[in-house]
Symmetry: C2
Subunit: 558 residues, 2 copies
């Protein structure tokens, strides 16, 4: 198409609030515009990239046997009540009432809709398995939108849902989708790490995120150097080495402790190692329950792990007043003799030390020689620790901390939805059985941002050919007649070409071409025409090549 | 694809509430399923048809120079307030608040969004004209959904918006889009009538609907036999012949009138023609104003025309009590000496008679020899009459009444939005000027219903090739080995084929094929294989042809 007819413009000026590279480049090159925070217009260039990503995902999904359908955007809230997700998703779920008083959720994910559709058919084992997917606009009422397309409130998502007779059959599809995703991201020129992750409000027992490593990503994960173990911080486990575990248990003692409120203050006062101290953090959950998280002093608490153990929907730190109200003291909390209404959740690291020290639930009083089971009991016990760089995994391999952009995920759902929604099929033995399910998502818009984030230089975006808005960018330097002819020939040959026919200085055209990032730049000028040629340059290379006009099409068709 | 793997099934059972052919067939053949009233799932077959329709629209729009973009689904309500459309659209607009307290409308149409986007660029006359369009899910909080995809609450719509320097330039695009729409509907095998229509809440001065004639449609329009004049009932004008216009005005007289409340009662009592009677209908509008619509006795009032004259958003009939409260009497209302707070709106037909008769604003009292201007004055005057079959247009051609399905529309918007939203470009004279605009919509899902409505027989749908979910339907009658080979060859040749590999009786396969309505049915059986052939039958013909397997691909490729 002719650039003079392209709606949307490149721009040099940019708000100071735009800090992330992909955001900046997609804005400056005229791919996207913000409506209000977290809600974006896709301009023609952006649409073209988005549609190429969609097409690649679609091709791979179809090849893998999945079938495309679509659900309404408004989901009857009744369905979300069947699975109690209207609560768990909390503030991120947007709801609306129609004029007849019916309540709807704006689709965030579509498990309930798909299950409702499927249970409406009387299916048998002969119809299984199947994997139905859609591309549709999804809504998340995020507290904070950020980073252009990285965290938005409205976005295009591919979501797929598979239905199986049993777990074994599901596992085949999980592996199948894993490979499909690897292929998809490879075609999109995105290197992804597959990390174990938390299921969050989706439900089910396990899931994996496909993450593009990037400092601007929000997914923090731990990985071993050989990549054998990779897990999101919310599920990453690590080896908690035994410390003074063979020490004899000494007598519990309460001592004066004129110190500040920090862990460090405790270390200094008692001149004992940090790991021997007990770390206590008091939370209040969405049901108003006091939750005391207790962990070895040198570890931190991971709130998602804690949430999963307490089965709360939300947690917040208790205030000093609230802590006092329950009979303790900020900075001096202890699980020992804590108020019975407090739910004490302990990390398994507490069992790697003896004769620990920490607060006494009174200001300026500490306890020494605190021992689990003898001096305090846990209501809940498990792994609530945050994995850190340089910790080791269970095979003694050092963990490395990485950040990345989550572009896709695959979930085991098991019977989570089918049981809650009573969705059954007739098995070969004539029995009605619940579907075993999985689901598989890709955020299309975030994927686009990830590609721009990974493929750029100081001049602009460098689109991989598979998703580039056009294959070639034809720049006419005051040779519009010849350029127009070439443009038509290229189009006729089926080459997608953006033809810069604008009345601008060469420098501006070159700068725009670099910013927009189309893979092949073709320059036609008086100079090149003397040799009946054009200048051909790949966006990802510095090499400029003279190519005879007659040979250009063959050259580009490769 | 293999039918055994196709999600969604044909069904014989159907709810009694499903009365409209397209609804029935799309449901039974497994193209759609209802989530809740007016909100539909598209199953794989339905998705394929929908996407073919989308592709045709897209190709024609692109060819015509329009460019695809997309806006968010949630529109900041602030924008709708700028144009005051948050009021005028009334109950059909759904609104929602996010967790930060911002208000949004669920997109119904996107004029405000497009203008907001465009005014954010500093465009000049050099950038004009352009036409930007999108396909996106639209929301209308309809009081009643009906007829499957014919009137829904959520649907896919193609909406385009053009921006121009002036009216002349706009008019070219209006004509352009008119032709584009004609091409689109022709490719979709839909014969459309282009009728003048009311702009409704879109705004602007004129618009045209593209209507597919059908008794199940909701658009009632009037057309001359030669098709030279075609207009929706809400804008159709007709010739109002003069009656006793040369009669001398007689003296106004009030008489006793012991009669019922109907027009007919008046005719009988006074033994005078219906046309000489005055018809009075009292309304209350959304602002609480009394609106008295007055018209010649043999005509009816068109409420949309009345709304446009009174600039109300909504009208309802006044109750008997309300009529009495304003000092009149139901069945005896008269514009003569009516309460000054009543806005009297007269149809221009009142000037075609003299010495009319009608009520006297008192029970059982009538007035005779009522004459406009002398005995009563109008606050507003214009055409508020409903055109009817057998009336004549202004060229004396008889009007015929028709019903149809509105599948598309094109609107002149003029400065309606650009002025309200202060959207300007810099003209060649350096002056800032408002954009002159138009907009152009096609309801994709309703179009799909219209195609099914027009192309079917008692056995099922007969999809036109351009939108058929598959080109060929391969039925294996116990010959799956040979069929599988043929299926693969057809796919390899690029022919979209649905292969019925299911373990069913031939009769069931034939019935399903007719119901689903794929253009070419290919049957492979022991009998056909004896001749190394298949049986080929077009869905729209009874002729069955034996075709050598080797020749099938060439035959289908035509």
């Amino acid at each position: 198409m002719k650039q003079s007819k392209l709606f949307g413009k490149t721009t040099k000026t940019i708000s100071k609030d735009i800090k992330i590279t992909s955001h900046k480049l997609l804005y400056q090159a005229g791919f996207i515009r913000e409506s209000v925070a977290g809600r974006y217009y896709f301009l023609p260039l952006g649409m073209r990239v988005r549609e190429k990503i969609v097409k690649i995902i679609e091709e791979e999904m179809n090849k893998a046997g999945a079938i495309k359908i679509i659900t309404p955007v408004l989901h009857p809230l009744e369905l979300w009540k069947e699975t109690a997700r209207n609560d768990s998703v909390g503030f991120e779920l947007m709801t609306i009432k129609d004029r007849n008083g019916s309540d709807f959720a704006l689709g965030g994910t579509a498990e309930e809709m798909m299950v409702d559709l499927v249970r409406g058919f009387n299916l048998s084992y002969k119809d299984l398995p199947f994997n139905i997917y859609q591309f549709s606009q999804k809504f998340r009422d995020e507290l904070r939108a950020r980073g252009g397309l990285l965290r938005v409130r409205e976005f295009l998502m591919k979501d797929a849902y598979s239905f199986h007779a049993d777990e074994n059959d599901f596992k085949k599809e999980y592996k199948n989708m894993w490979n499909v995703y690897k292929n998809i991201f490879q075609r999109l020129c995105l290197e992804t790490v597959v990390v174990e992750a938390d299921n969050g409000y989706i439900g089910g027992d396990y899931c994996h995120e496909f993450v593009v490593e990037s400092d601007v990503g929000e997914s923090r994960f731990l990985i071993t150097e050989d990549g054998q173990y990779a897990a999101h911080e919310d599920v990453a486990i690590f080896k908690k080495e035994n410390k003074n575990i063979n020490e004899k248990e000494k007598e519990l003692a309460e001592v004066e402790a004129k110190r500040g409120n920090t862990m460090d203050d405790g270390v200094k006062l008692h001149n004992m190692p940090l790991w021997q101290q007990i770390k206590d953090v008091m939370f209040i959950d969405d049901k108003g329950r006091y939750i005391l998280a207790v962990i070895r002093g040198d570890f931190d608490i991971n709130e998602t792990k804690l949430l999963n153990i307490t089965k709360s929907n939300d947690l917040r730190l208790a205030t000093n007043d609230e802590i006092r109200k329950i009979g303790s003291e900020s900075g001096f909390i202890s699980p020992v003799r804590i108020n019975k209404n407090v739910i004490v959740v302990g990390d398994d690291s507490l069992r790697t030390t003896k004769n620990a020290y920490g607060g006494a639930n009174k200001k300026h009083r500490d306890l020494l020689n605190v021992n689990i089971d003898r001096d305090y009991k846990l209501n809940l016990e498990g792994d609530i620790a945050m994995a850190q760089e340089e910790f080791c995994d269970n095979n003694n391999k050092v963990l490395i901390e990485r950040k990345g952009i989550e572009v896709g995920n695959i979930f085991q759902l098991g019977y989570h939805y089918s049981k809650k929604m009573n969705a059954k099929f007739t098995d070969c033995d004539g029995q009605e059985k619940f579907y075993y399910m999985g689901c598989y998502g890709i955020g299309v818009d975030r994927t686009m941002a990830a590609i721009a984030e990974k493929h750029n230089d100081e001049k602009g975006i460098i689109w991989p050919e598979s998703v580039a808005p056009f294959k070639a960018h034809l720049l006419s330097l005051n040779q519009n007649e010849k350029a127009e002819e070439l443009y038509k020939n290229l189009e006729q040959a089926g080459i997608e070409v953006l033809y810069d026919d604008r009345d601008l200085r060469p420098g501006e055209k070159f700068a725009d071409a670099d910013l927009i990032g189309i893979p092949y730049r073709v320059v036609i000028s008086a100079k090149t025409l003397k040799e009946n040629s054009v200048e051909l340059k790949r966006r990802d290379s510095e090499k400029v090549e003279m190519v005879k006009i007659d040979e250009l099409i063959n050259k580009l068709k490769v």
